[in-house]
Amino acid sequence: MIKKQVIELQNIAQRYGEKEVLSNINLSFSTNCITALLGKSGSGKSTLLQLINGMVKPSIGKVRVFGNDFDYTKAAQLRLQMGYVVQQVGLFPHMNLYDNICLLGKITKMPLESIQKRFDFLLNMVQLPHSYIQKYPYELSGGEAQRAGLCRALFLKPSILLMDEPFAALDAETKNNIYQYFLLIQKTEPCTVVLVTHDLKEAETLAGELVWLENGKIIQK
């Protein structure tokens, strides 16, 4: 049986002016599997990630998601089905923990009851205490903030999760801790994960497949 590919990158090249950031990229990601994109900084791995959610449009080639060409006029709609986690976390400073995590639920007009249920479930999953509901991002530690960021990304049960160096800023102990939460979530609610990282150990711990990038080219799968 041929599994339908959730994400396909076909003959992609990406240029900024004269500079070629990516070239000749053909890649598809196995459904509900964690794929790590490895490479040094400047290898083009972050750009590749942003091609998937349409934040970057390819100069050449085609991005297909959910079996269709990426429709840039419906980018916001499509992105709601793709969780997004970055190193800087990017929780909104004017919202407390609850509002940050539940923002997408409110925007998609989920009933309040379902929002509350989902919030409780996620908070429990990453082991953040309920007493944190009213806390603002600046009151959270790095690890706590990143766990909250994960909850925000997963709120709408996305089928794709894009992660750009999500754990790079954390210390070793916190990292190990959060890996456990992450793997647990992936087991409970599996989705297609693309993880950008420069840390081989992290990639080996979390990912089922590894892709190496160097100077904008795939050198090893």
Binding site: Q50, A76, R79, G83, V86, F92, I107
Partner: protein
């Protein structure tokens, strides 16, 4: 039959208030309903208001009409009337009977020390300081041409007329312009220098009105002809200045004594009620203009921030608006909007634009670009991003701008009195014209309290809208 409403205006001087009341009351007694637009800021504003129809009649002087309005030397009343009719559809009544010409006044001490008689004699004292009313400094028949005619070299600075006499008594200036019927002249014993070259035209007081005025009203104004002389006018002026009688009462007593109206009790409202009314008007001016400015400047600022190429020039432009002196901006409004509340609100609105616009642009520009990118990346559409992320993050800055605008507006709104918009400025302007500190304070203290009150309101709004760690620390 429904009562015809007539709008009576006056400039902001003691004598104008009294003449305005006399005009208003004789018309009232004749069955007209009167709206009083007192305190208009000078000839330009009063005349523009009359032309525009924002007022129907105001007391004016023949010399002013000749020099300032028709730009001619002759003060012959028939010729003035003819020209006003054909050029502006305006007319003048018979003169009230006194000549309030300009004069130059010295303090009694100085006059004792130096036996000056005429303006020519002034040439011997080039070191003296003249404190002159702003209008006199600028007029055709004012300081510029006077000092040329008499070849005077002494230095002149601008001073509000109401406080010039005080400055003269305190030896802060040696010379000021005076009106020959001013109540202070007799009281303080000022010496008036003789206009030996006959530079000043005649300033016969009369009513200047629109030709469209009902015949009955014109006849009533005609009845005021030759009822006053210089001495009577000086006396009426000093009743207001030194006996603290209201202009309303002075006018009524005068008209009743002339058997021109029935004497009736003056209806008066309590001081407290009066202050509250003025505060209410003041708040109305401030808040309406502020709300309009918010509704325009915030959306416009958001738009502007998206097009940085236009934001700089536009901010400069609103900055220029800010530098137009408020009284000038108010005067500029009259040809388009007349006088009263509307032009005042429009002027205040223009002043409030800049701080709100600038702070909105700055507020939006200073949002962390990472947060904006993340908002898009997690699936917010542009409108959702604006509402849930950008606007709240720019809010502290925007609120600071609104707050600045509000405080500026409370202060500037006091000047709205000059175009008949009322408010607390009315006390201040009248107080300045009469040199009554108590009256000035009656306007100044509540407006200062309003400014503080508005600051406090914004503290509360800040607390409601912005989490503590994001509030602007001022």
């Amino acid at each position: 039959m429904a009562q015809t409403t007539l709008k009576v205006g006056t400039k902001h001087s003691n004598e104008s208030y009294i003449l305005g009341e006399i005009v208003a009351q004789i018309l009232e007694d004749g069955g007209f309903k009167i709206e009083r637009k007192f305190n208009l800021g000078g000839t330009a504003i009063s005349f523009e208001a009359l032309k525009k129809g924002s007022i129907d009649v105001y007391p004016e002087y023949s010399g002013t009409i000749a020099a300032e309005i028709l730009k001619q030397k002759s003060t012959n009343l028939d010729s003035l009337n003819q020209k006003l009719k054909t050029q502006f559809q305006l007319e003048i009544s018979a003169p009230f009977g006194f000549n309030n010409t300009y004069a130059l006044a010295l303090s009694p001490d100085l006059a004792r020390k130096y036996p000056l008689k005429t303006i020519t004699d002034l040439a011997a004292h080039p070191e003296w300081r003249a404190g002159l009313s702003y209008e006199f400094l600028k007029r055709e028949d004012g300081w510029g041409n006077l000092s040329k005619a008499y070849q005077l070299t002494l230095k002149a600075t601008g001073l509000e007329h109401g406080i010039a006499y005080q400055a003269l008594m305190n030896h802060e200036i040696e010379l000021t312009d005076a009106y020959s019927t001013d109540g202070e002249i007799a009281k303080y014993g000022f010496t008036l220098l003789e206009d030996n070259l006959h530079f000043f035209p005649k300033y016969e007081a009369l009513a200047l009105y629109r030709s469209a005025l009902p015949e009955k009203a014109k006849n009533l104004l005609e009845k005021l002809g030759h009822t006053l002389n210089d001495t009577t006018m000086q006396r009426l002026n000093s009743l207001a200045l030194f006996e603290k009688q209201t202009h309303q009462k002075i006018a009524q007593d005068f008209l009743a004594a002339q058997k021109m109206i029935q004497n009736k009790p003056v209806e008066s409202i309590s001081t407290m009620q009066d202050i509250l009314n003025h505060i209410f008007t003041h708040l109305k001016l401030t808040l309406l203009s502020l709300i309009a400015a918010i509704l325009v400047a915030v959306p416009f600022g958001i738009l502007l921030h998206r097009f940085p190429r236009f934001s700089k020039p536009l901010l400069y432009l609103t900055g220029i608006l800010q530098t137009i002196p408020s009284i000038a901006l108010l005067a500029l409004m009259i040809p388009f909007l007349g006088i009263g509340v509307l032009p005042a609100i429009v002027a205040l609105f223009l002043y409030a634009l800049l701080p709100i616009l600038r702070n909105t642009v700055i507020g939006f520009s200073s949002i962390d670009p990472t947060l904006k990118k993340i908002a898009t990346a997690i699936g917010l559409n542009p409108l959702q991003k604006l509402w849930h992320v950008e606007l709240p993050l720019a809010m502290p800055m925007i609120l600071t701008g609104i707050r600045t605008a509000a405080v500026i507006n409370v202060g500037t709104a006091t000047l709205a009195a000059f175009i008949g918009a009322g408010g607390l400025g009315e006390f201040i302007v009248t107080g300045l014209a009469l040199n009554q500190t108590e009256l000035i304070l009656r306007g100044a203290i509540p407006s200062a309290l309003l400014a503080i009150g508005i600051e406090l309101c914004f503290e509360i709004i800040d607390k409601l809208l912005i989490p503590k760690h994001l509030r602007q620390k001022i």
